[in-house]
């Protein structure tokens, strides 16, 4: 059999493979470029960029949990001006797809940043982090109401030069409703999930572990939640999905694709093994060979049964 096809096309853009890195876990690519070959990845998603630079929250900002971590970094970033001036020139040199993640605290702030990025080349897509409080208005997150998510998507779609990915939060009653609102607002793609709200407490001092008190839970602990959310959203919308949440290896990639994701992002796993994405890309080739699948896109949304493999012996699991 010839080498299996790992490439995936969404929104008219072809990715070398379905493996991307998640926002906030890969900086602006510079650090990892020194330790892994970024041209082995489908693409990278940069740390959330805001209109103004943000120093982030005072430490402690992270807390290790069972099979995961809490973070309250506070959207620390260099701001869009410095991003364009200092980070884009480097990102342009990379032989991989570049997705720029944008955050904001009002529709005006998001709009400003997207307009600045419109004037910049070297970007393939924008991912909009909508898990931010709408400070000017009601203080609630854009991600948590159908109306706010829809308003924001519509406003950004109107102006964005680049295809828009709306990144959904799992901290909502019905993620499918928010997904549909974003789709109706014109989103080209959805990514999910962002972190789950959690907290840690010191039982001796009675103090919260994070200065911010609550933080976002990520890592393998959230994978089952993320799989369920991707599956629910897959059944609710027609636009392509990017699966995120606890992905550690190529088997996880396959599982997210089976429940409906076209691409995936590795987040917390980068902190544990900086070469996890490259290894997973290699692993996917083997996996396709083992399952007899010639094109990886055949996995997308195939939950229900792999008739091809019935009766065959699976390779034994070698653990993590």
């Amino acid at each position: 059999m010839s080498i299996a096809n790992l490439s995936i096309e969404i929104c008219g853009i072809r990715f070398r493979n379905p493996i991307l890195t998640a926002s906030g876990t890969f900086g602006y690519g510079e650090e990892f470029n020194q330790i892994i070959d970024l041209s082995k990845l489908g693409g990278i998603v940069t740390k959330s960029i805001t209109k103004h630079p943000r120093p982030g929250h005072p430490p402690p900002r992270t807390h290790e949990t069972a099979a995961g971590m809490l973070n309250a970094i506070g959207l620390a970033n260099v701001g869009v001006d410095k991003f364009i001036e200092e980070k884009i020139p480097f990102l342009k040199t990379l032989d991989t797809r570049i997705i720029v993640n944008v955050a904001g605290f009002s529709i005006e702030e998001y709009t400003y940043t997207v307009e600045r990025l419109n004037d910049t080349d070297g970007i393939d897509m924008l991912e909009i982090n909508i898990s931010c409080p709408n400070v000017g208005a009601d203080g609630l997150e854009f991600s948590s109401s159908v109306r706010r998510a829809s308003e924001l998507t519509t406003a950004l779609k109107k102006i964005s030069r680049y295809p828009l990915i709306i990144k959904l939060s799992p901290n909502v009653t019905s993620i499918a409703e928010i997904a549909r609102a974003a789709e109706e607002g014109g989103a080209d793609c959805l990514s999910l999930i962002n972190t789950l709200v959690g907290m840690g407490v010191n039982h001796w001092t009675f103090k919260p572990i994070l200065t911010n008190i609550t933080g976002g839970l990520s890592g393998p602990a959230i994978k089952p939640v993320a799989l369920a959310k991707v599956w629910q959203v897959y059944n609710a919308v027609k636009i392509p999905l990017i699966g995120i949440g606890g992905i550690m290896n190529h088997f996880d990639v396959a599982e997210f694709m089976i429940v409906g994701a076209s691409l995936v992002q590795f987040g917390t796993a980068n902190f544990i093994n900086p070469d996890c994405t490259v290894k997973a890309a290699e692993g996917l080739t083997d996996y396709l060979k083992q399952t007899g699948i010639s094109d990886i896109s055949e996995l997308i949304g195939k939950l229900g049964g792999n008739h091809e493999i019935q009766g065959k012996n699976f390779p034994a699991c070698q653990g993590t």
Partner: protein, 264 residues
Amino acid sequence: MIFNPGVRVVEKKQLLPDLFHLKFEGESLASRAVPANFVQIKVSKGLDPIFRRPMSIHYADGKTFEMVFRTVGRGTHILSQAEIDQEFDCIGPLGNSFKLPEDGERAVMVAGGVGFPPLYFFSRFLVEKHNFPKENILFLLGMKTVSEKPMADDLLKLDIPLEFSTDDGSFGFHGFVTDLFEAHYAKKLRHEKIRIYSCGPNAMMRRLGQIALSFKVPCQLSLEGAMPCGVGTCLGCAVKMRGRNDYYRVCQEGPVFDAEEVEL
């Protein structure tokens, strides 16, 4: 290469009930390590604990490198169970190093407890690699109590001027190591050109930084901090920049900072 998947334990010593010394074979790491560098070591193959643990390099000689650590939680406990020939996955060497003392300067090392490894490495490095006169080093080590003395085994072998403080006065100077430094400063050091190097608990380095700034003495601090990734991308190990509303990453811009750069 920053990835060192098979560093092998070749020596293990238990210095105290909660203090261990491990020597690893791992040339790609050891041959490039300089003082204050650290590694991110994966202590378990599974997810418990999920993250690597940052550990200073206590010494490296080209083929082997060493670490000395206190068991404070799950990760260090697992590491303390390491057996000879067991292999670990290490990322490193990571981080920056100390500035060398200038001509005529005395290098004063101020170590708080198990903060001594980078300063031990640096002292040896100065003597062995830079022909720095031993008598121009002053090493001050602060401990809780006399029973912690085995912590200083390697330091004693260096044969450099070395003094101790204990919190309870059971051995050496009675008080904190920062008090010991101030006593030396009042007596003699204030008449000399000195440069301070320090590593230890945050509270100790905060105090020492204040002292150094008030005496206008150059001082470098090797900091610690919760450090999930160690390669600069999680932004977890933030330390406040002095006088600016922004943060450094201990793992990337550090772990060594000038005292006047940071606010602890």
